[in-house]
């Protein structure tokens, strides 16, 4: 099973990872605000993650760690 870890405080909520995810399991958490004042990304269903690292590839702030 693949695992995603987010460095949430550095997320700027740009959502490039959300669009890149082939499984559609990433979303911008509009109910949360990080230290920088952004809505950060979150994973809605880690079970479905296939560890393709597309989110990692598109993240401009290198906040995502992917293990598989």
């Amino acid at each position: 099973m693949a695992k995603l870890t987010f460095k949430t405080d550095n997320c700027k909520g740009c959502a490039l990872c959300v669009d890149a995810c082939p499984k559609g399991i990433l979303q911008i958490a509009t109910d949360k605000i990080n230290k920088k004042g952004h809505h950060p990304v979150e994973c809605t269903d880690m079970e479905q993650c296939i560890g393709c690292a597309s989110c990692y590839m598109m993240c401009p702030d290198c906040i995502i760690k992917v293990e598989r």
Binding site: D9, N10, K12, G13, C14, A15, L16, D19, A20, K36, H38, G51, A53, S54, Y56, M57, M58, C59, P60, D61, C62, I64, K65, V66, E67, R68
Partner: protein
């Protein structure tokens, strides 16, 4: 177990770039390549003036901040100071590389200076708030072309790879983009080749990365990546514009 995470050559600090700015992706690709080639300890990076002026805070290797447009000249000095032991790259935007620093760019290429140049083309001056760049598209609205770039008044955007490919000097010129996962992977391959060429002593290698500037384009990050596809790439086609070693091999 496969792990994708922040490369060692990238310092673990928040980047100052705007949300969705692709500078961060290219920074990571450069750092990944430095890691994979095992050259961090001998690499010296040259930051430009522009949005990536503070790149010296982001790369773990030794860094120099150059005057606007002068990075290839500074890189020439650093490389020639110790050609065997220095791996030198510049990281420059379009205003830096193709406007104020055009002479330095062309001549470093003409000399086939053994350096690696990462060229971010996002068709705008980002740091100063969105003015017309030498690569701004015809009709593109910016702060200093408020009615759209008018070629009658300010000419046509410069295609750097095409232009440099007319020179005998340079070893390798490729244009890539980072607007989707596939293109990011290709961009990394090009950047790796550009560094490997330097290690192999082949000479001047430039990778032009067609990039986005959501803030100054007035778009969401997603729209900006789409605009790369719809508007930038037709004028700036991706591909290898010069690869002397490959050409020579083919000729043999």
């Amino acid at each position: 177990m496969a792990v994708f995470e922040k490369p060692h050559a990238l310092i673990d600090v928040p980047l100052h770039y705007c949300p969705g700015c692709t500078h961060g992706i290219v920074h990571r690709l450069v750092a990944e390549v430095i890691d994979e080639l095992g050259i961090e300890g001998k690499t010296i990076g040259i930051a430009p003036v522009g949005c990536s002026v503070m790149a010296y805070n982001y790369f773990n290797c030794d860094m120099i901040e150059a005057a606007h447009g002068r990075a290839p000249a500074v890189a020439t000095g650093v490389k020639r100071a110790d050609p065997e032991n220095h791996i030198v790259f510049t990281y420059q935007g379009d205003g830096d590389l193709a406007s104020i620093g055009m002479a330095e760019t062309v001549h470093a290429a003409a000399r086939n200076e053994n350096i690696t140049v990462i060229f971010i083309n996002n068709a705008i001056y980002g740091m100063t708030g969105g003015q017309m760049a030498p690569t701004s598209l015809v009709g593109q609205v910016t702060q200093t072309s408020p009615y759209g770039r008018d070629p009658k008044a300010c000419g046509y955007p410069i295609k750097v790879c095409e232009m440099l490919s007319e020179l005998v000097g340079p070893e390798y010129l490729e244009r890539v983009t980072v607007n989707n996962v596939k293109n990011v992977r290709n961009a990394k391959k090009a950047i790796k080749k550009a560094f490997q060429n330097q290690i192999d002593g082949k000479g001047f290698s430039l990778v032009e990365v067609v990039s986005s500037c959501p803030t100054n384009w007035g778009m969401t990050p997603k729209q900006a990546l789409e605009w790369i596809e719809s508007d930038m790439l037709p004028y700036y086609p991706l591909g290898v514009y010069k690869d002397r070693s490959a050409e020579q091999k083919e000729a043999e």
